[in-house]
């Protein structure tokens, strides 16, 4: 009980700092997600009908997600130095697979009869894509974006280990000062706000997903 009270006290005393770190964390995540979403959806559309390219890109994205996050961060340090940059690149690579996989799966799941009907009515490839296939795959694509967002919001906590920012800073400060006053509160703050941010982003994406999905396929 005392612990909770002192945690609340710590949060109350550090609102502006926490807010700043939260915004920093969210900015990293959102920036990465924006790029990763566009990239993965476009890649997914491009490879969906090409067997080998599809295998290769899904395989590669799978390998990237298998590589431990810190190792992936580390590999980019010699290239771009320390700071947010290696973290952003690594997070971007991490975010690809769920979106790519869902884009491909969503497009694969579109009933061939629907595509045939679209083609039979004289829609060109681009019209079929924009008017029929993407709208139908959209709920699945959004689900992939949500998974990626959750994933990288958590992983972004270690950006601080490679010199980046975000809420991981609270965890790090807490760790290095373990045993001193407020150290455990810092760790809780960092952890809880990362979870909170992930839940908020997920809820927002969920709402966007519902808003942009036709009631006919809900």
């Amino acid at each position: 009980m005392d612990g909770v009270r002192s945690l609340i006290g710590f949060i109350a005393d550090n609102t502006s700092g926490i807010l700043e770190r939260t915004i920093e964390h969210a900015t990293i995540v959102l920036g990465v997600m924006l790029v990763a979403t566009v990239f993965s959806v476009v890649l997914g559309i491009a490879v969906q009908n090409r067997g080998l390219a599809k295998q290769v890109s899904l395989g590669t994205a799978g390998v990237l997600l298998t590589i431990p996050s810190l190792a992936l961060f580390a590999i980019f340090i010699p290239l771009v130095g320390i700071g947010n940059r290696p973290a952003q690149i690594a997070l971007f690579l991490y975010a690809i697979l769920p979106i790519l996989r869902n884009t491909v799966a969503g497009l694969d799941a579109v009933d061939p009869a629907i595509v045939e009907a679209a083609q039979g009515m004289g829609m060109g490839q681009f019209q079929q894509l924009v008017r029929v296939r993407i709208p139908l795959a959209w709920p699945v694509i959004i689900a992939g974006v949500r998974v990626s967002t959750q994933l990288i919001t958590g992983v972004a906590a270690i950006a601080v280990l490679v010199g980046g920012g975000g809420l991981g800073a609270y965890i790090q400060r807490g760790l290095t000062s373990l045993g001193n006053p407020f150290s455990i509160e810092r760790v809780w703050t960092g952890t809880l706000f990362i979870i909170l941010l992930a839940l908020v982003l997920d809820a927002v994406l969920g709402a966007i997903g519902r808003r942009t999905t036709s009631p006919g396929i809900r």
Partner: protein, 413 residues
């Protein structure tokens, strides 16, 4: 063929048509169209030359794998032909933009392919939108089409496909294909995925619709009964889409040109053929009738003088009432108009011989009573008459093919 010439019309069951579909101008001309998937291998569709006439329903029917669907898809170039020309209303469309061509051809497939993320109205408006119609015109058109296919626009306009039954979805599919009023419709087993009762209803509705819109339709099915019911003409295809026989359903049923066709149309083709002749086309012989007030002795005298075993009694308004035979006439316990089986099965003059046969089988006298539309007596048809008609149909069909062969022999140098 018949001395009573009624106005050409689609009959109650949609089976009788007196016009010759080939009299109309050619709408689609396939000229040596061929599809080869792997060079050197057997073609999927072997050089096919075929005319589809304006306003007819031409049914492509054949066993699975014969290439009938492929042939259909060659017409709107969903599959690009590897040889031959496609002439569409005197315009060579073999090389024009395929999407542009498809917007001029309605296309209905078995699995319909309604867009689940769009409302019914949006679905129907697909091609109009592609053609750049304004929203108001598109909306009006989709309401009009919903009416046409029997779905109340106020109720269905803003619904989504998932809220429709299979039959309703298929109606919307047809409406969507008709949206931009294309002169031609291609239908690939459009009623194949619904239950038999719904299918029958959809077929009848569609034939009524077609009587109204008069489209040129190429219709693919594997079901010979559906082909017979829907087709103005039927092309029976063997493998590689080679035409085994192309003719009106009546002639194909009367005279299958070879064993393949014979096997394919299967047993009961004679019975099916009765769908194509109408009672009004028969020369109906004299039949002994009596009135309700005819005295018993007079009735007995009429029966004795005739060659028949039954008398037909008419009621006071001239409608068939009861059958009477020797036994009934001998039964004096009741008045004459209370003995003898009641006439139940009557057929109108424009009914088919198939209907007449059905009436005969159910009648206690073994014969069918023909009536005017108001129910008054016309005549009686016996089984012998049908046998005669069947024989005549066969002779006519055979003669048709013999004549055809003769002209072809003289045509060929």
């Amino acid at each position: 063929m018949s001395e009573t010439t009624s106005t050409p019309q689609v009959g109650a069951a949609g089976m009788v048509s007196d016009r010759d579909p080939t009299d109309a101008p050619v709408m689609i001309h396939l000229d040596g169209v061929e599809k080869v998937y792997t060079p050197g291998a057997a073609p999927a569709v072997e050089k096919l030359t075929l005319d589809v006439h304006k306003g007819e329903i031409l049914v492509l029917v054949g066993p699975s794998g014969c290439g009938k669907s492929t042939t259909l898809r060659l017409i709107n170039r969903m599959i690009e032909p590897t040889a031959g020309r496609i002439i569409f209303d005197d315009e060579d469309v073999t090389d024009i933009d395929a999407n542009e061509l498809r917007r001029r051809i309605g296309y209905v497939i078995q699995r319909i392919g309604l867009f689940p993320h769009q409302t019914i109205a949006e679905n129907i408006g697909t091609v109009p939108r592609l053609l750049g119609w304004d929203a108001e015109r598109t909306r009006k058109r989709s309401d009009e089409l919903l009416d046409l296919v029997g779905l109340e626009p106020g109720i269905y306009r803003d619904r989504y496909p998932k809220e429709l039954s299979g039959g309703q979805a298929q109606r919307v599919g047809v409406a969507r294909a008709l949206a931009a009023d294309p002169p031609v419709m291609l239908m690939d087993e459009p009623f194949g995925a619904v239950d038999p009762i719904t299918r029958d209803r959809l077929q009848n509705e569609f034939l009524r619709l077609q009587a109204e819109v008069q489209k040129t339709i190429v219709f693919v099915t594997h079901d010979i009964d559906e082909a017979v019911k829907m087709g103005d003409r039927i092309a029976i295809l063997r493998e590689r889409s080679v035409v085994a026989q192309l003719d009106t359903p009546a002639r194909i049923l009367s005279y299958p040109v070879d064993d393949f066709v014979d096997d394919f149309i299967g047993s009961g083709s004679t019975l099916k053929g009765l769908h194509f002749e109408r009672v009004s086309g028969l020369a109906i012989p004299e039949y002994p009738v009596v009135r309700r007030d005819t005295p018993r002795e007079e009735a007995r005298r009429i029966l004795d003088m005739s060659d028949f075993r039954w008398l037909l009694m008419l009621d006071e308004r001239g409608r068939p009432a009861r059958w009477l035979n020797e036994t009934h006439l001998a039964d004096t316990s009741r008045p004459l108009h209370e003995v003898g089986p009641v006439v139940r099965a009557v057929v109108e003059r424009n009914a088919t011989l198939h209907d007449a046969l059905e009436a005969m089988i159910t009648s206690s006298a073994g014969q069918a009573v023909i009536v005017h539309r108001d129910g008054t007596y016309v005549g009686v048809v016996q089984i012998e008459l049908l046998t005669e008609v069947i024989g005549r149909m066969r002779r006519e069909a055979r003669k048709h093919y013999e004549d055809l062969e003769a002209t072809q022999t003289t045509d060929t140098p």
